[in-house]
Amino acid sequence: MMLSRTANHLYWMARYVERAENTARILDVAYRMSLVPKESRLADQEWFAPLNITGTLYPFSGRYSQVNAQGVLRYMVLDPDNPSSIFSCARAARENARAVRGSITSEMWEVINGTWLEMQRLTEERLASERVLEFFEWVKERSHLFRGVTVGTMLHDEAFHFNRLGTFLERADNTARMLDVKYHVLLPSVQDVGGAVDYYQWAAVLSSVSAFEAYRKVFRDVITPLRVAELLILRDDMPRSLHACMNEVYDILQKLTSASQHEASRLAGEMHAALHFGRIDIIFADGLHEYLTDFLRRVHQLGGEVNLAFFSARAQKQAVA
């Protein structure tokens, strides 16, 4: 039993931490792809991908004249007016944490507060090319630290479960988007399909979700799109795959109880079953991009049901009566 508001803050605190990490991962992969030599007409085209997959191309264009490394990095890392910039995520995570100071351990608070204090000191120089990868590493490390401290210090009670629910729902959303990067990044020409650049881009996607080594271990073979997708969608032993995320989400929803969670549990179960029994060739036959788009829609829907079941005030008065 816990306050609905508290549960809501814990859930969003974890979501924002995860989102900051994944934004760093998305930018990391775009940056790596941009390093591939190419003709000047294609210069900077990788930088559309982060905007496209996070659905922020439109607001970006309203404020920046050109899509290039400098603009996209500034917008997605530092811009306080972009609600999903890493800066804004760090702030939102900290605001949510502050609202539930009493429900998280002091170690968790210190990680989140420390990250925010550091973030405020971040300047544009730190995003200069030679140090930008180092910065992405730092964001990932802070997020790893947050999860480690959470698992290692927090009582594994309901508060913990809401926190984890936020982490895995957000991660499911982000892995799906990351996998969709390839759809948005054009190859220089049709002949390049299956060529070196193609290979390089899929490898970058793998690295961005820390799955490169896992891929080698699982398949012991060359990188192919089908296998990358299988690893990141269907393998449940791959910690950032959609299947692994939905395993967690489904389990957590079984542990939590509310008067009105039926639809959230059912939907999570349905999504989980589809991944559990899914086949990658069927997914490819229907189109990977279409599959991912549909998956994102369902994650969004599930978020709405979780909100209704646990956080909204609506059910409360009825329960007393």
């Binding site: 039993m1 816990m2 306050l3 609905s4 508001r5 508290t6 549960a7 605001e95 502050r98 609202a99 539930v100 100071r101 009493g102 429900s103 002091s106 608070w109 210190e110 507060n113 420390g114 204090l117 309901e158 809401f162 939590l256 109880t257 509310s258 008067a259 646990f310 956080f311 005030a313 059910a315 409360q316 008065k317 329960a319 007393v320 009566a321």
Partner: protein, 471 residues
């Protein structure tokens, strides 16, 4: 009572160190100043990281600042503390008796000890509370009494804070910090522990639950994270293991108070509220309050929930009531007060008003309903223009003001860049009243960091120190 040289807590007039500061003096002498500097930096960094900050009103929304912390503790010998503790218990007991009385039989008014209209016409008197019986007849469950030393070191009560006194989290965090920075000093001498305060508080809150509630559910009600004391609210809730709730987390159905939880409504029996009376319930008090809980006061009046502190305690810590506290002690307890009051001029009285206006440059003038060091005039530190402006305010509404002699507050050394230097301090111990009266040995020592300043309030540039009661 006014002395030119203030009482120095650490040194005798001849420059000798007072015995209870001996260990500390030796430590200062033998510790390289560089280490002390490093420790000050470490303390600041830790406080920032832990987020022990307070919001400052009137600055950019959400602005947070550290309350400056000084590493030199305020040391009090055990014997002296026992005397203070006795006096504080006596005082708070009488104040609770007074509160029960003015909302019931009004004996003290009928006996003519306090003019009736001063109580009944006071805007802090809450007619809603008349005739309501509270558990154990306690109103001020948590009291933070401000003590100062003046003259040759005699203690005075400056203020009784009986509404939502704050600062106890600094008492606890300062101790934690000191034990981290200078463990060797704690090994050398026996400093009375304060860490059990949250347990005492929780016991107190539980002990005043409505009758027949077996294991009471306690919650701490905060105005939210933009309140200046939010850190303390979150800290105390966590230390006690109770829910930190905002108004919107609570609702009332059939005069029962519930929290909205992930599993549906959960009944609440005791609310440790850190919201002012006016904002508690938009149906009973300010209709524009978004912080409160509609219907709370009705549930409270029917005895279905206990509020700590009670509604209407302001009538007892109002500055216009302060001069009568010694009389309350005599009236209710039949005892002589153990702690002194500061002589107070009530400007509603003609003579007092005339005297005050003639001696503005020597006196401290305060608003009767003010708090936090806002809106007061410190005569000796004021300019003629300030005094003229203040004079007009007084004449406009004399009954809203009191005046007191400017006490030469005692000083305690603080670390400054060039070593140590004396600064004025005060002390706020906390008195808990439930089934029994309990106290933690210690309190919050506040210090005016600016040289010569007498204002210790954190909103006005004051800092804090750890307070050591020696066994």
């Amino acid at each position: 009572m006014s002395y030119d040289t203030p009482f120095n807590e650490m040194y005798l007039p001849d420059g000798q160190v007072r015995p209870h500061y001996a260990a500390l003096a030796e430590w200062i002498e033998h510790t390289p100043s560089e280490r002390i500097h490093n420790m000050r930096d470490a303390a600041n960094m830790l406080f920032h990281r832990v987020g022990i900050t307070f919001a400052v009103y009137g600055e950019e929304a959400g602005a947070e600042r550290l309350i400056p912390f000084d590493m030199l503790p305020h040391v009090i010998p055990g014997e002296e503390w026992r005397m203070l503790e006795k006096g504080l218990r006596q005082r708070v007991k009488a104040l609770n008796a007074f509160l029960h009385d003015v909302y019931h039989d009004r004996e003290i008014l009928r006996a003519g000890r306090i003019p009736e209209e001063r109580v009944l016409q006071n805007k802090l008197y809450r007619p809603e509370l008349v005739g309501i019986d509270l558990p154990n007849h306690i109103y001020a469950h948590i009291a933070g009494v401000d003590l100062v030393r003046a003259g040759a070191g005699e203690y005075y009560v400056l203020e009784d804070n009986l509404r939502t006194p704050s600062g106890v989290s600094y008492m606890l965090e300062n101790r934690k910090m000191m034990m981290r920075l200078v463990p060797e000093l704690f090994a050398q001498q026996s400093v009375a522990p304060v860490e059990h305060y949250p347990d005492l508080l929780l016991d107190t809150l539980r002990s005043v639950a409505p009758a027949n509630v077996e294991s009471p559910v306690v919650a701490l009600l905060t105005p939210g994270q933009f309140n200046s004391a939010y850190f303390e609210h979150a800290f105390l809730a966590q230390q006690m293991g109770i829910e930190l709730v905002e108004g919107a987390d609570l609702f009332v159905a059939d005069d029962v108070v519930y929290m909205r939880t992930t599993r549906g409504p959960q009944r609440v029996d005791v609310i440790y509220r850190r919201i002012d009376d006016d904002f508690l319930d938009p149906l009973a008090f300010r209709p524009d309050s978004v912080l409160g809980v509609p219907g709370l006061v009705s549930a409270y009046r029917r005895g279905r929930v206990t509020l700590c502190n009670a509604i209407g305690t302001g009538i007892a810590d109002d500055k216009s009531m302060y001069p009568f506290v010694p009389d309350m002690i005599r009236f209710y307890l039949g005892e002589e007060p153990l702690l002194n009051n500061v002589p107070t001029y009530q400007l509603r009285n003609r003579e007092d008003l005339e005297y005050t206006l003639a001696h503005l440059s020597e006196l401290v003038v305060k608003e009767v309903h003010g708090s936090g060091g806002y809106g007061m005039l410190i005569g000796p530190a004021s300019t003629e223009r300030e005094r003229d402006a203040y004079r007009l305010r007084i004449l406009d509404n004399p009954e809203s003001f009191i005046a007191q002699p400017t006490l030469s507050l005692s000083t305690c050394p603080i670390f400054v860049d060039q070593g140590i230097a004396p600064r004025h301090i005060d002390l706020r111990p906390f008195v808990l009243s439930g089934k029994d009266i309990v106290m933690c040995p210690g309190g919050l020592t506040r210090v005016a960091l600016r040289e010569g300043s007498l204002v210790v309030n954190s909103s006005q540039g004051g800092g804090t120190k750890d307070t050591w009661i020696l066994n």
